[in-house]
């Protein structure tokens, strides 16, 4: 057993445990600062992993694999957790008790994501998924005094438990026929079960479980409510970390465990992708709550990424990875702004949500009014993020979508459904421009904004916002380096 392979995992777990212990002896006033300690720890782990990359190989009897894809996603998840932790330090005032536990839980969820990126076996897939999901049950309902947060927690718990049930049942069926849980060994025998209904049903159930994680149609029903009710840093981590974990597992299952069967599922993936794109974009139009709107938009983005997976080609898979990198800086930038801009508003009751406690924030779009006068940096970041989400050049979102569509079009001569899929996706992009620009209009061109008091931003937040802006611009203007990273990462997957 090679401990070096697991260097990211055990260092993150050790950091989380140290944080829990430090919480016990620190005075209440300095607990908030523990978040910065966690960020510093993660930065060290990330840099150490870049300077001295762990060797490639497998351990735990082939259960755990360290390859290019795993390494790519491990860096992705750690970067996401750094930005989310910085956000939660700002959010600390809204968490009545246990802010140190909140930081620690983010780190535990991160360790689950790190394991998920290396899963090469259905049992590790299940354990890592559960580690992520169970931690998120607590993270979503962390604001115990706020009804919306509790409601989100309960909804996520029920739907999450249901999807876990699907996954386990599917794994049992696949194991019953394939006689192995290991992805590599399964690939050797999966070809003979191509037309076995029990095996295909099991596989479909596993994909259902993963579909819940990435919030793809028809398993997207929880996303808007949970995104709206959960504390903003949790929502951000859910939108980026949890979704990416679903995608890395989807890539592994489809293209490592059952590549022969995946080739025959292009039509299913095309249909799911098309409906997800349309559903997310159309339902986002009437939303007035910002977090709910971003919840629907995240469903649409899951659809775009499924488009890349449905292309069933190396180009499609690397485009998904590239899109996720752009999505990380874009969404976390947007949520950081929302987290700060909304909490400095007086609490009012807003309409249109599921239900509200007395402690609710005003999350209506109108609360962004005059943001450019209150804080130009915040306004610039969220504007760039929304423009990037809408897919307008020269930002990261445009190039990501371009690569995805290109990969799908490359497959189109063989199967004409891809033409339709790309046409629907472009229609989705056009629809999304409408509601993203509704937000931008609220920021810059609102009539008589109610509140023009300047918003103070701390230095760490300014750094993280600048990092997001630079990331969006860099990925959009100089894509070559990251395109190469993404291509390298999926190399082993398809071979």
């Amino acid at each position: 057993m090679n401990l070096l392979l697991l260097v990211h995992e055990w260092s993150v777990i050790a950091l989380a445990l140290a944080l829990l212990l430090a919480d016990l002896w620190l005075p209440l006033s300095s607990k908030r600062k523990l978040g910065y300690a966690a960020v510093a720890g993660l930065v060290v782990i990330l840099l150490y992993g870049i300077i001295k990359p762990p060797p490639y190989g497998t351990t735990f009897g082939g259960m755990y694999v360290m390859d290019g894809l795993a390494l790519f996603f491990k860096r992705f998840f750690i970067s996401a957790a750094i930005l989310v932790l910085l956000m939660s330090v700002e959010f600390a005032d809204h968490i009545e008790t246990g802010i140190a536990e909140y930081y620690a839980l983010i780190l535990f969820a991160l360790s689950g994501m790190l394991f998920a990126s290396s899963a090469n076996d259905f049992s590790l897939l299940f354990v890592s998924l559960e580690l992520i999901t169970v931690t998120f049950y607590v993270l979503t309902s962390f604001q115990r005094a706020r009804l919306a947060s509790l409601e989100a927690g309960v909804k996520y718990l029920i739907i999450g438990a249901l999807s876990t049930g699907f996954t386990v049942f599917g794994i049992a069926l696949v194991y019953g026929l394939g006689k192995t849980l290991n992805f590599g060994q399964l690939a050797a025998v999966a070809g003979q079960f191509k037309s076995n209904p029990v095996f295909l049903f099991g596989l479909l159930l596993v994909l259902t479980g993963l579909g819940f994680k990435i919030a793809a149609f028809p398993f997207q029903i929880w996303a808007p409510d949970v995104y709206q009710g959960a504390p903003s840093p949790t929502t951000a981590f859910l939108a980026v970390g949890s979704k990416a974990a679903g995608f890395v597992l989807l890539l592994r299952v489809l293209f490592t465990a059952v590549p022969q069967i995946a080739l025959e599922w292009s039509r299913l993936l095309i249909v799911i992708s098309a409906i997800t794109i349309l559903y997310g974009n159309l339902c986002a139009i009437p939303q007035r709550n910002i977090k709910r709107l971003l919840g629907y938009s995240s469903i649409a983005h899951a659809g775009y990424m499924l488009l890349g997976i449905s292309a069933l080609s190396a180009a499609g898979q690397s485009a998904v990875l590239y899109y996720l990198s752009g999505y990380l800086v874009t969404v976390l930038g947007a949520f950081t702004v929302i987290c700060i801009a909304l909490q400095s508003r007086p609490a009012e009751r807003d309409e249109g949500g599921p239900s509200h406690g007395g402690l609710d924030f005003n999350e209506d779009i109108s609360s962004l009014a005059g943001l450019n006068q209150r804080s130009p940096l915040l306004a610039a970041t969220i504007t760039l993020a929304l423009v990037s989400l809408a897919g307008i050049p020269p930002l990261a979102g445009f190039l990501g979508k371009f690569l995805l569509f290109k990969a799908a079009l490359a497959q189109a001569p063989a199967q004409h459904a891809y033409y339709w899929l790309v046409a629907i996706a472009i229609a989705g992009v056009v629809i999304s421009i409408y509601y993203y620009f509704g937000l931008i209009r609220a920021i810059y061109w609102s009539k008589d904004p109610a509140d023009l008091s300047p918003i103070r931003t701390s230095i760490p937040i300014r750094i993280s916002l600048c990092a997001c802006i630079i990331g969006m611009l860099y990925l959009g203007i100089r894509p070559n380096l990251f395109v190469k990273f993404a291509a390298d990462a999926i190399q082993k997957l398809t071979s």
Binding site: L17, L20, L21, L24
Partner: protein, 127 residues
């Protein structure tokens, strides 16, 4: 192969069908054959040893019980994992000593941190 496997479940299916038929049959039979008497609210109450079975559907329990139950499960699971570990320890010591020892030590270490956490947070104090 699949066909024979599915046939093995036939008795289960028969039992299920029988259970549904029996319970419906009893209900329908009692409606058809039973004597219609005078119904009063007193007669309709379920018999509970002469006590009035009236009250809240759910009684409130102190949260302390849940805490104790959770902590119990936590350390119970620890023992559950220790038994099979001890059973294969000698065998695996020959093939992979690092894994067999490292896995249990790290598991116990994580639980130990949890124990200290629960202790300091006062989870073991009843009052």
């Amino acid at each position: 192969m699949e066909d024979s496997q599915i046939y093995e479940y036939l008795p289960v299916l028969m039992l299920g069908a029988l259970a549904v038929m029996f319970s419906f049959g009893i209900l329908v039979g009692s409606v058809l054959l039973g004597k219609k008497g005078k119904r009063t609210p007193i007669k309709d109450t379920p018999y509970e040893c002469g006590m009035l079975p009236v009250g809240e559907g759910t009684t409130r329990m102190s949260v302390k019980f849940y805490l104790v139950a959770m902590l119990f499960i936590l350390f119970d699971i620890e023992v559950v994992f220790l038994y099979p570990w001890a059973a294969v320890y000698r065998e695996m010591l020959r093939t992979d000593p690092g894994l067999i020892l490292g896995a249990m030590v790290s598991f116990l270490a994580i639980l130990f941190v949890g124990y200290i956490y629960a202790l300091k947070k006062g989870a073991f104090d009843w009052h």
